[in-house]
């Protein structure tokens, strides 16, 4: 690109494995997160396949869980117990160890400073510390596997979690520790956005990915402390029988649900907002067109972050919450639908009169729009009190949140990965491989989860180890779909590995994108930019 590169980059500037684990560079820390999160994703994914395999047919024919080797089992665990454990690990790992840290800690860490023209995040030491804290929590969570396991579901509802004979306290402490990591990351990003923007990079010139990460960070800081105290109280409850959440001792299990969802509903937006940020980037880049309604999308990120704190009670419509509270929450939930709709229409309008290039990231972005439209609308269905009474805790809910979390967040992660792969690793990946992975994941996803809407409508409850025969056919289809998804991810993995080992050297800006990270070398040097950037225009000036 008419520019002499020194060949130095953040990857090779400091040699040796040890330098990676002590590095304060935000890009290296992002890579550390990337490796860790992808490992947990693999484990969580295997668990998911196991669950689907179990549900391939009703239990009369015997259970897949019987084939789990003995050293992984607690004495006396029935197949149903094993299923419940796998179900819990799948949920807890995917939530706390994959999707919540996923985009912010990997892509946020890597690209937030690059996109706003900063040399690093505000607190590099804290950033590295967050990774270690996260790993400590994750290690503790995984180690429950070698103690009494955990079978409460990722929601830890009392009083079941008080009575369960599994390592609930350990898991709860692990989630607490990972929560601390999440808080520190969020705090770091907020200050980075406030204070480290390059000269000329006003808030309203920030790429929308930064707005999304910023909104997410606000939720992380404000919501996670409540989870922390809730989990501590649960640990107290188990060790001392304090009775705050235990009805036997005069406590209120519904209050636990309030406290839990005060965090966990906003956490849903911790999972999806950054994904929306990535989609904004992908759609403008590959349609070579400025984003439609920049201000509206930015405000809607903040709007979603704010309203997300007011809607948690829609998880409690049939829990014994009062009718008044149910109505209030249903109303407020409707309000969160509006900024989401705004985003969807703005992305659509961005495609209008663009010059759309069908690369894998764009396909992932379109896949996102497709799946998120379905996930979002079924979300509205579930927010309507009377209808939710029927659908609550059925497979309809399972399908809905997978459409949002997997169809949304995971599609965005994959799209972001192939979009930024040349920037992160300085090598080009195979376009065919990336597109093939999309085909399998997209089709597989719909085959897996669309039947679950119907199962839910027919009344099949979630977290069921076994089901009545009339649900068999749809379950079979769903299981077959899960194999397609797995194939897609294997293709993606091969594509990534091949790109890493034998990819051609990536140019600075292979996709012709306008945001600031593409002005840095591929891969970027230690301090990101050769010369401190000065920003004079908005992020998407495709004229």
């Amino acid at each position: 690109m008419g520019h002499v590169s020194t060949g130095k980059s953040y990857i090779n500037e400091e040699p040796g494995l040890k330098s990676w684990f002590t590095s304060l560079d935000h890009k290296r820390i992002a890579i550390l997160y990337f490796v860790a999160v992808m490992t947990f994703f693999l484990i969580g994914g295997i668990m998911a396949l196991l669950l689907r395999l179990e549900l391939f047919s009703p239990n009369t024919a015997g259970s897949v869980m019987e084939h789990i080797p003995n050293f992984l089992r607690k004495a006396g665990d029935t197949p149903a117990d094993l299923y419940n454990q796998v179900m819990t690990y799948h949920g807890a790992m995917m939530v706390f160890m994959v999707i919540v840290p996923g985009i912010p800690a990997i892509f946020g860490n890597f690209f937030l400073p690059l996109q706003i023209g900063a040399k690093d995040v505000a607190f590099p030491r804290l950033n590295l510390l967050s990774w270690y804290v996260f790993m400590a929590g994750a290690a503790l969570a995984v180690s429950t596997f070698f103690f009494s396991k955990i079978d409460t579901g990722w929601t830890f509802y009392t009083p079941y979690s008080i009575r369960s004979g599994t390592s609930v306290v350990m898991m709860v402490v692990a989630a607490f520790i990972m929560g601390m990591s999440s808080i520190l990351t969020g705090l770091n990003f907020i200050v980075t956005v406030h204070k480290l923007r390059a000269p000329g990079m006003t808030m309203w010139r920030m790429p929308l990915f930064c707005w999304a990460i910023y909104s997410t960070a606000i939720i992380q800081v404000l919501a996670t402390p409540i989870l922390a105290i809730t989990l501590l109280l649960l640990a107290m409850e188990r060790t001392f029988g304090v009775g705050i959440f235990d009805p036997k001792l005069g406590g209120d299990p519904v209050l636990f649900q309030h406290f839990f969802w005060f965090y966990s509903h906003p956490a849903v937006y911790i999972m999806i907002l950054p994904a929306m940020g990535i989609i904004s980037e992908l759609i403008t880049t590959y349609s070579k067109k400025t984003i439609f309604g920049y201000t509206a999308i930015a405000y809607s990120s903040i709007g979603i972050a704010a309203v997300s704190f007011f809607v948690w009670g829609h998880h409690l419509f049939v829990s014994g919450q009062s009718e008044v509270a149910g109505i209030v929450f249903s109303f407020l939930t409707m309000l969160v639908g509006v900024p989401t709709a705004i985003k969807m229409f703005n992305w659509l309008a961005t495609l209008y009169k663009g010059s759309i290039e069908f690369r894998a990231p764009l396909l992932y972005a379109l896949g996102f729009l497709f799946l998120f439209a379905i996930g979002g609308m079924t979300g509205v269905i579930l927010a309507v009190t009377a209808v939710d009474v029927h659908f609550h805790d059925t497979y309809f809910v399972v399908a809905h949140f997978h459409y949002v979390m997997v169809g949304g967040t995971l599609m965005a992660i994959m799209g972001g990965l192939f979009h930024w792969f040349p920037k992160i690793f300085g090598k080009m990946h195979s376009e065919t491989g990336a597109i093939m992975s999309w085909v399998f994941i997209f089709i597989g996803f719909n085959v897996t989860f669309f039947p679950q809407f119907i199962l839910g409508a027919k009344g099949m409850p979630r977290r069921y180890f076994d089901y009545i025969p009339e649900y068999e056919q749809l379950n079979k289809i769903s299981t077959v779909g899960s194999w397609l998804i797995a194939t897609g991810f294997i293709i993606a993995l091969i594509t990534v590995i091949k790109g890493l080992t034998s990819g051609a050297k990536a140019p600075k800006n292979p996709w012709g994108s306008k945001t600031l990270e593409w002005h840095a070398e591929s891969p970027p040097i230690m301090h990101n930019f050769e010369q401190d950037p000065i920003v004079t225009a908005g992020p998407y000036e495709y004229k």
């Binding site: 400025t290 509006v338 805790d393 027919k458």
Partner: protein
């Protein structure tokens, strides 16, 4: 106007969609829920069609032709943006209000309803009628308001009848309630929908809707079990106490606890290494104090609840007689 035609079409589509894939509509409420759901599905379908259809249309139409394609520079359009904020908002508020009306009906208990006490415990429902009849399934008369008062012995359960579109958590430490008025005769599934441990997925029972005459007959018959032979009485207790959710009786398959098929009189290996015989005293002890002698290979502590103080001696004898008969 065109709008009217569109609205009319939507309403028609709605009633066609209502009930698609849904279980039988066995109550008035379930029809209302399905109508609202049908409307939501149509709205969802329309909005997905706009979004996804638009997306595919644009993607094909504006496919990149050359590397130097000129693109339009459109930053925003306030009128459009207001439009697609306000229209969804109106739709959302509409369905919210509609949902509220039905939800309010669901949550408002009728007066003069037939009250039945339903208690969840790991992992069975027990149903108590006013006249003292205890059952493991819910039997109700058709076309009559029925109010279920829910309670739980241990953890949270949730009482769900898909065909009635009703669901309510049974929360330990307090009472919750739900009501319905069944309009169809027949048997309907009852599921537990709040995760409650090992046999959560087997915490099923039936809700049987019968005519008023059959209901009265059933209630008297049930209250008059003392005339039955011992083993039949035992079978009844075995059923009402939901022993069958953990112990199989017709095959040696292990559900949660040991199968009782052809078990009587066989030698016994206790988990602590001692041995014995599966006899009257062992059965009695296992029912009253399940943690005492856990059969080898089964979880410790045993998930079996203690029935101490819940079963009378007469009932215990009947139960033992029934188990004897399984050989």
């Amino acid at each position: 106007m065109n709008w009217l035609i569109v609205m009319n079409k939507l309403l028609l589509a709605k009633s066609a969609v209502a009930g698609t894939f849904m279980p039988v509509q066995a109550t008035e409420i379930s029809k209302q829920v399905d109508n609202l759901y049908g409307f939501l599905v149509v709205v969802s379908f329309v909005s997905c069609a706009i979004l996804i259809g638009g997306m595919i249309y644009f993607a094909v139409k504006y496919k990149r032709k050359t590397q130097n394609d000129k693109t339009a520079y459109i930053t925003h359009d306030t009128r459009l943006e207001v439009l697609w904020s306000v229209i969804p908002l109106i739709v959302f508020l509409l369905v919210f209000a509609w949902g509220w009306i039905i939800y309010h009906d669901m949550r408002t208990m009728p007066t003069n309803a037939l009250e039945i006490q339903v208690t969840g415990k790991q992992w069975a429902w027990s149903v108590d009628y006013k006249n003292g009849v205890k059952a493991s399934e819910v039997v109700v008369p058709v076309n009559r308001d029925v109010k279920l008062i829910l309670a739980s012995d241990d953890v949270i359960h949730s009482f769900y009848v898909p065909s009635f579109r009703i669901k309510q958590d049974a929360v330990p430490g307090r009472y919750t309630a739900l009501w319905f008025r069944a309009e169809k005769l027949g048997e309907f599934h009852v599921f537990c929908t709040e995760y409650c441990g090992t046999s959560h997925s087997r915490m099923l029972t039936k809700l049987r809707v019968v005519s008023q005459a059959d209901f009265d007959k059933w209630l008297t018959e049930e209250s008059d079990v003392s005339g039955l032979p011992l083993a039949q009485r035992g079978a009844k207790i075995f059923q009402t106490r939901a022993c069958a959710s953990c112990h199989s009786v017709d095959s040696p398959v292990v559900k949660v606890g040991p199968s009782l098929k052809a078990r009587w009189g066989t030698p016994l290996n206790v988990e602590d290494g001692t041995t014995g015989v599966f006899d009257e005293n062992y059965v009695r002890e296992s029912v009253m104090l399940p943690q005492q002698k856990i059969a080898k290979g089964f979880p410790k502590p045993s998930p079996m609840p203690s029935f101490q103080g819940q079963l009378s001696e007469a009932e215990m004898i009947a139960l033992i007689e029934y188990i004897k008969g399984l050989n």
